[in-house]
């Protein structure tokens, strides 16, 4: 039953993993960005006012944000966008597989393969090398205990599952609008702000924070990183992971309905 989906998952994962130069370039860019953010936070924290997060937690949040940047649905799957442009999307209708599941497996593999090398490199740099060369104050702090690590792993897994549902939704918008321009242009700014990638969600005005934490994008960045920092522990963490999974389910069902409705009247361009 699951075999074709697992096959496309592993094939895509291995394919994307081949782009080592892209991963290295992304890593270098993210180091620069993370470093600059840390410098700016450090200047802000030098002032007198109390912040909703400690400096160490904010710094860890920032590095993790760079490591897992690819959880954000920056754009629709470029291969799907290509299929829509060339008309090859018609072949997708011929496969004896569920269209949503097929795209979902591809999106999941695409996300995971772009994250794995960057997160690994970022972890080694920020959590191991930086403390060793005496920059520990500006580096990534490890979670307090094993339970936090286990919960973090669960939250990251949930974030990956959630992120892929968003990518499929973007694919649907691309398939319906016949171009990836519109969807891609707005996906990034919205998800950067709402996920906590721009600034940790706790830094927004108090009145908004509870609502910001309920919306689905928080599950991509804010939830797992608060688990890492120990701000969400025990049952609170389990509840937050439950919310990530609930959103995954909702967006998954929504995406499945949308794929069915769009693909049943898909227009093929070119030929």
């Amino acid at each position: 039953m699951l075999r074709p989906y697992l096959a496309v998952l592993s094939a895509r994962f291995q394919l994307v993993l081949q782009y080592r130069a892209a991963a290295l370039a992304g890593f270098a860019t993210q180091c620069w960005w993370g470093g600059m953010k840390v410098l700016i936070y450090s200047a802000f924290y030098a002032g007198a006012r109390a912040a909703p997060m400690s400096f160490a937690h904010t710094v860890s949040y920032t590095w993790l944000g760079q490591a897992f940047l690819m959880f954000l649905p920056w754009y629709a799957d470029p291969e799907v966008a290509d299929m829509v442009r060339t008309g090859a999307v018609a072949y997708e209708r011929l496969r004896p597989v569920d269209a949503w599941g097929w795209w979902y497996a591809r999106a999941l593999a695409w996300t995971a393969a772009r994250i794995a090398p960057r997160a690994g490199l970022m972890f080694v740099t920020a959590a191991v090398i930086m403390p060793l060369v005496g920059l520990g104050r500006w580096g990534l702090r490890l979670p307090a205990d094993g339970a936090a690590v286990a919960l973090f792993c669960a939250a990251i897994l949930a974030a990956a599952l959630l992120s892929a549902t968003m990518t499929v939704l973007l694919n649907v918008v691309v398939a319906a609008s016949l171009t990836d321009r519109g969807a891609n242009a707005f996906a990034a700014p919205i998800s950067i702000v709402l996920s906590g990638s721009l600034v940790p969600l706790a830094f927004f005005p108090h009145a908004f924070v509870p609502f910001l934490r309920l919306q689905p994008f928080a599950g991509l960045i804010d939830t797992p990183f608060r688990v890492w920092n120990g701000e969400l522990a025990g049952l609170n963490a389990v509840g937050a992971i439950g919310l990530q999974l609930a959103w995954t389910l909702v967006l998954g069902i929504l995406g499945r309905c949308a794929v069915e409705s769009v693909m049943s009247r898909v227009q093929v361009q070119g030929g």
């Binding site: 892209a22 700016i40 242009a185 700014p189 830094f203």
Partner: protein, 266 residues
């Protein structure tokens, strides 16, 4: 036809081509507006929490932010050809044809496209206006002149960075995403006053990639503040000249690249 007339002809063709798709033009501009405006949202959120950064208020930082963003927006529109130089000219071999024409290479690459994007510029203008009114900036003719000179220096600097990025593709053939560190990263760095950074980073932004010279120093003069870093007052308004120096250096490196160019043969 002289160079200017030729360039204007290039620009006319490019503008007409883009206006063939008015809806796409609108969507892309709106997207750029929001895409760049989220940055000020982040800055404002941080000021909401912390109040000040190294003594600077949100209004003052908004002025820095507006100037550097406007300079980048103005530089980004005409230099599209340099930005896509690797994939569009070197990899495809289209640069062979550029070399055959009896015009300078830089002019022809510049004529590739005048990208009609006003989203970032509009955003920068709004942030600048709000910041300037918050700090009660007075606009004497001298101030306006200083602002224009600062923007010109910034446009020169960012153009220089993009020329260097393009020159690099003579060796790498493709575009290097890492170069975004200097363009978008430079904008990001210039959004805050230089004295918020650690000393080594300040030096980098002053002497290597002179972002500070086209944003921080002249804007300190514009705000009528005295520089907490101790640069003498008479020097502050002169620093944008380094943007032009950077562009001149970048163009001479560009000529080295052109001399080195061997076609990809495609």
């Amino acid at each position: 036809m002289n160079g200017v007339a030729l360039y204007l002809r290039y620009v006319g063709a490019s503008v007409r081509a883009q206006m063939q798709y008015p809806r796409s033009f609108l969507v892309l501009n709106t997207a750029q507006f929001f895409g760049s405006a989220i940055e000020i949202l982040g800055v404002a959120a941080l000021f909401g929490v912390f109040g000040r950064i190294r003594g600077w208020s949100l209004g003052e930082v908004a002025v820095f932010y507006g100037v550097i963003n406007a300079a980048f927006a103005l530089a980004d529109a005409p230099t599209r050809g340099f930005e896509v130089f690797g994939p569009e000219f070197v990899r495809t071999g289209a640069f062979d044809r550029v070399l055959l024409r009896p015009r300078t290479t830089a002019l022809q690459v510049l004529g590739y496209e005048l990208r009609l994007r006003f989203g970032r510029l509009l955003q920068a203008g709004i942030v600048f206006a709000v910041g300037a009114s918050a700090v009660r900036l007075s606009f004497t003719p001298a101030q306006v002149l200083l602002l224009a000179w600062t923007l010109a220096g910034g446009v020169a600097l960012f153009s220089g960075i993009l020329v260097l990025q393009a020159t690099l593709s003579f060796w790498t053939v493709d575009a290097l995403e890492v170069a975004n560190i200097l363009t978008y990263g430079g904008v990001q760095a210039g959004q805050y006053p230089l004295n918020v950074y650690a000393a080594w980073f300040r030096d980098l932004l002053t002497y290597v990639i002179p972002i500070g010279c086209v944003a921080y120093f002249p804007v300190v003069a514009l705000l009528g503040a005295s520089d907490p870093l101790g640069a003498p007052g008479w020097l502050l308004p002169l620093t944008p000249a380094f943007g032009f120096l950077f562009l001149a250096l970048a163009l001479s490196v560009w000529r080295l690249g052109v001399a080195k160019y061997g076609s990809t043969g495609s």
